[in-house]
Symmetry: C2
């Protein structure tokens, strides 16, 4: 189906918005009136610009408070409509949106509303324009889509139809029952379909709508269900995004437009319209890659953690450090980061040691890359080693490189083939003295403006599932964290966003290493000369008041700096190394199916990290 | 009365919070449990730190879901309480807060609740501690203050009282009727009073409470009324601020603490407790002062606008430019700005031409300065000229210098006495050819984190009234604007805040000059070689559709770039100069009592300014 986006959903001048929409692959736009009024381009120039960009102008909405008003008011509206319809002819836009009246002058009189809409449609017809009448969720007398449709039906004018808007419908809906009447509307009388999602905020609907809409799949509405219902009526107009969102108003238009179209591609797939390559869910974390101008501090830390340097890349300054199934690449090559976005707020810093790439074990790397590309992820040039092992990789919205790869798997090229083995001391047996055996999770700090985009990307492109969003109190502001994981927890990536744009660079990323015995692992680490993040004594006094521990257990945690949490499924014990550059490590012991990441302990950890700076 | 603040209301580490609270003059603190757990200081060290700073520890709140739970649960609570009471003894805190239970295990049984609270109070008494029981607005079975009081009364234990919290009470209140039962509580059984305001958001009360509380006077609750009622009961404990606010969590603790205490000082005045020096309301704008490293561009602009250089400061590189009652000082002295805050986000830029000071006509400059000082405004060193004219001045939260002064007023020192007249061409008669006759308003962009503080400051310190807050769509993000004015409009200062911290420096400030005939003034300006901000033709096509104008009127506006607005009271016509440094000028014509600032036109103006860069 054709896709469209309202210019109000994007940041910038009208020309910036149009360019971003076209580059992201939209077929059309709804032009928001303020964008047109503020533009130095004439309507003819805007029309030409859109045509050059391959964009149709699908909708214009200059009218307010049209129907069910006193005749004198309505006469003024017709006068205004005449001017706006002439403007639309200059623009080449053939559908005008009319939202249900919020005017205190409007009366509760469907017959009057239908009559006036009929007259407006008659005028529109003279200009070759169609009128799409939509119920605002906070309309004065008309606030539901079925009520709006009854008025359209009563008006009975060929140039008058209805516009359905997922926000206005779903924000008022208490269940699928409320959507049944969609089936009663003939598809050809649905002149337009506007789509937006929103988090379930339980707030005043007008403020909710104006500030907190988001792209489908980023909120809590079942937008696919509504789309399926609308399609069953025979509707064949565009799927158009109309999203009022304070953050999108500030963020760069280019990435927002890509995010928007990715959301529509996923929505079409969910609504049964899509032809996207199949989802390929990763089965584990193959490696994490650290880029650093100076390998010494971080490799010293890896050694202390029990990693051994096992191999070296055949063609690049990259070393492989291993311990059990945990693999870390240390890259001292130039940190040019061609695919990272430079955010206006400062962007991703390129200095110091940072977690820059993630290798995901994929049962079908090429298939996963095809899906990623179809979902607008920038596909990175295949890295080829002298041994010619291809590596499929895409860039995440924050610039992190995601390698879709396989380790020691029959029939699939092995990324390890690019590496030549180095002599190294015999590896500790997996789990020996609690040594880390695999990467439990990777915590990736996200740029401020694109958190919801990152979650949608990881769901759609990588086939991960998004867990609940949690607020975490950092001493200097609230953080928001949301994990994307596989169903079995083989891949866990908590995405975290800071309290303000400056936090892009303030918060380090981290690698959590799974161990079967965190106490042994912590002891081994400290005996090897490592220093764990000191945790305040007050924290342990509180643990003692909250839980009962075996004799000596709490004293051990206190001594080492191990944190403790418990959920309905099991227990979690974890501790942290100091930070190197913009990276630190966590040792974690998960028992009995614990699902979380110790969020309750995060404020204590964050304060300790601030104090340790 | 004693004043106190919860550490959760401030940003930073516990020690940073304590220091900020003490410096702002608070008598005590509520220590939030997470702040204690995350602190490397022992309870004894925290107690000593507070004592050194002159702060008492008025409240601790480590308990949740205490009452009306199964006996087995309650036994665990008592075990935990014992540890926490011991901790409180170490801290020297003698009041513990217990919020009404939200546990799914809690049952609707007041007798059980009273019995368990009685037992908890018995334990507390052994530690010399009092239990203050408070109804959370979203408590499972107890959500109103009168219900909480009935349970306390039924429990009948001397160590058990109630805690009243203005947010929990007023967020559920539909009017003064709901507050009548406050009078039924004996003052000595009100163990604590927590105060917070909040904007009237109509959202889920839990989210509202956790993210959007603000200091009294910054929201929509009638907090003074509640305080008066509580005081009438005989309550003599502290007035304590407990404010959960996402912005305060990020902002520097020092200014937030000052803002907090200023709010309590104003609240006490409103509640009839205060002994603040009387409010002195300014009667006009005496001058605006521009600080610039290079006077030429801005004085050229002033000349083109019709200003004449009339006088020079006797001791400093400051020139006075006048036209009618509009006076502008141009200061080429060193821009050291000692009182401006350097915000972490970048702060106020000191380069380029900027609007740095405002002279307010005051009927009693010394009295106004006394009030400002009592309300914690930094009093600036009196500027004395060779002629010895004293000038009272204070710094606004954003660093703008506010001079409290008088122009040509019998019995008051005249700031003009510091200036010596310069020969200049005969001034145009006021209003001649539409020439500006006075400063209509000064638009002051505010730093991101302290917008509510700025509004409170201008209300409390200067005695201005705050008007409605409006959202304005800039192409790159929403702005928020709120005017503070005198009742008669003689002083009008719209305060504006950008969409993100970076905007501190992105948006220029401006001076609006009142003229009786904006068309004449605009023509005079352009004939003198001035260039007005070009406004897109589309804007005028829209005006033509919305309003009827006299013949030729709209064409004149279109030619000159004049914008038009209308409200219930009258009409507004305005146009803008280009920006010099970080300042631009507006010419405005207000007719028939128009109250606003052309906010509807602001998106067009902002887009034009972005385009003109």
């Amino acid at each position: 189906m054709r896709t469209s986006i309202a210019t109000v959903s994007l940041s910038g001048s009208l020309t910036e918005k149009l360019t971003a929409a076209a580059r992201a692959g939209f077929d059309g736009v709804e032009i928001f009136e303020n964008d047109l009024l503020a533009s130095p381009l004439t309507p003819e120039e805007i029309r030409a610009r859109c045509a050059d960009l391959g964009l149709s102008i699908d909708l214009y909405q200059p009218m307010r408070d049209v129907e069910a008003v006193p005749e004198e008011e309505f006469a003024r509206t017709l006068r205004r409509a005449r001017a706006k319809f002439a403007l639309m002819n200059r623009l080449g836009a053939d559908t005008v949106l009319v939202c249900s009246s919020v005017s205190p002058l409007a009366v509760d009189d469907d017959a009057l509303a239908a009559g006036q809409l009929h007259r407006l449609a008659g005028l529109a017809e003279d200009f070759g324009i169609r009128v799409a009448y939509e119920a605002l969720a906070w309309g004065r007398h008309v606030s539901t889509y079925d009520h709006a449709w009854r008025i359209v039906e009563a008006a009975g004018h060929p140039a008058l139809g209805t516009c359905l808007d997922s926000f206005h419908i779903l924000s008022r809906s208490s269940g699928p029952e409320d959507l049944k009447a969609v089936a009663d509307i003939p598809g050809e009388k649905i002149f337009f379909l506007q789509l937006a999602d929103a988090p379930l905020l339980g707030m005043d609907v007008l403020q909710w709508s104006r500030h907190h809409r988001c792209f489908p799949g980023q909120g809590g509405f079942d937008v696919p269900d509504l789309v399926r219902r609308v399609l069953r009526t025979g509707y064949d107009g565009p799927l158009s995004l109309e999203v009022f969102n304070d953050v999108f108003r500030q963020a760069d238009a280019g990435p927002t437009a890509v995010d928007a179209r990715r959301s529509l591609l996923m929505l079409q797939e969910e609504a049964g319209l899509g032809t996207l390559p199949e989802r390929v869910v990763p089965t584990g974390i193959a490696f994490a890659e650290l880029v650093t101008p100076d390998a010494e501090p971080v490799t010293a830390l890896l050694g202390t953690l029990g990693f051994a340097r096992t191999a070296r890349h055949r063609g690049k300054p990259v070393e492989l450090w291993e311990q059990g199934e945990a693999r870390v690449l240390v890259n001292t090559g130039p940190a040019d980061l061609p695919h990272s976005r430079r955010r206006s707020s400062g962007g991703t810093a390129t200095d110091g040691t940072r977690l820059a790439a993630v290798g995901l074990e994929s049962p079908d790397p090429a298939g996963a890359a095809r899906r990623a590309e179809a979902l607008l992820a920038p596909v990175l040039p295949r890295r080829r080693a002298v041994g010619d092992a291809p590596l499929d990789a895409v860039a995440a919205p924050d610039g992190t490189e995601l390698f879709l790869c396989a380790t020691h798997r029959p029939g699939l090229p092995d990324w390890r083939a690019d590496f030549e083995d180095l002599p190294h001391p015999p590896a500790a047996a997996p789990g020996d003295r609690g040594g880390p055996v695999r990467i439990d999770h990777l915590s990736l700090t996200q740029p401020w403006h694109h958190f919801d985009e990152a979650v949608l990307f990881h769901r759609g492109v990588l086939g991960l599932e998004a867990r609940e969003s949690v607020d975490v109190a950092d001493p200097y502001g609230l953080l928001r964290s949301r994990a994307v994981t596989t169903a079995d927890g083989a891949v866990r990536i908590p995405l975290t966003v800071g309290a303000a744009p400056g936090d892009d660079t303030a918060h380090a990323r981290h690698l959590a290493l799974a161990t079967g015995d965190v106490v042994a692992a912590a002891r081994r680490f400290t005996e090897a000369g490592g220093r764990l993040l000191p945790i305040p004594a007050n924290y342990y006094d509180d643990l003692a008041a909250r839980f009962e521990f075996a004799d000596g257990e709490l004293e051990t945690y206190r001594e080492l700096g191990i944190l403790y949490d418990r959920d309905a499924y099991g227990e979690f014990r974890h501790c942290y190394t100091r930070t190197v550059g913009r990276v630190f490590f966590e040792l974690v012991q998960r028992d009995g199916g614990y699902q979380g990441y110790g969020a309750l302990n995060a404020p204590v950890r964050l304060a300790a990290q601030h104090a340790a700076r």
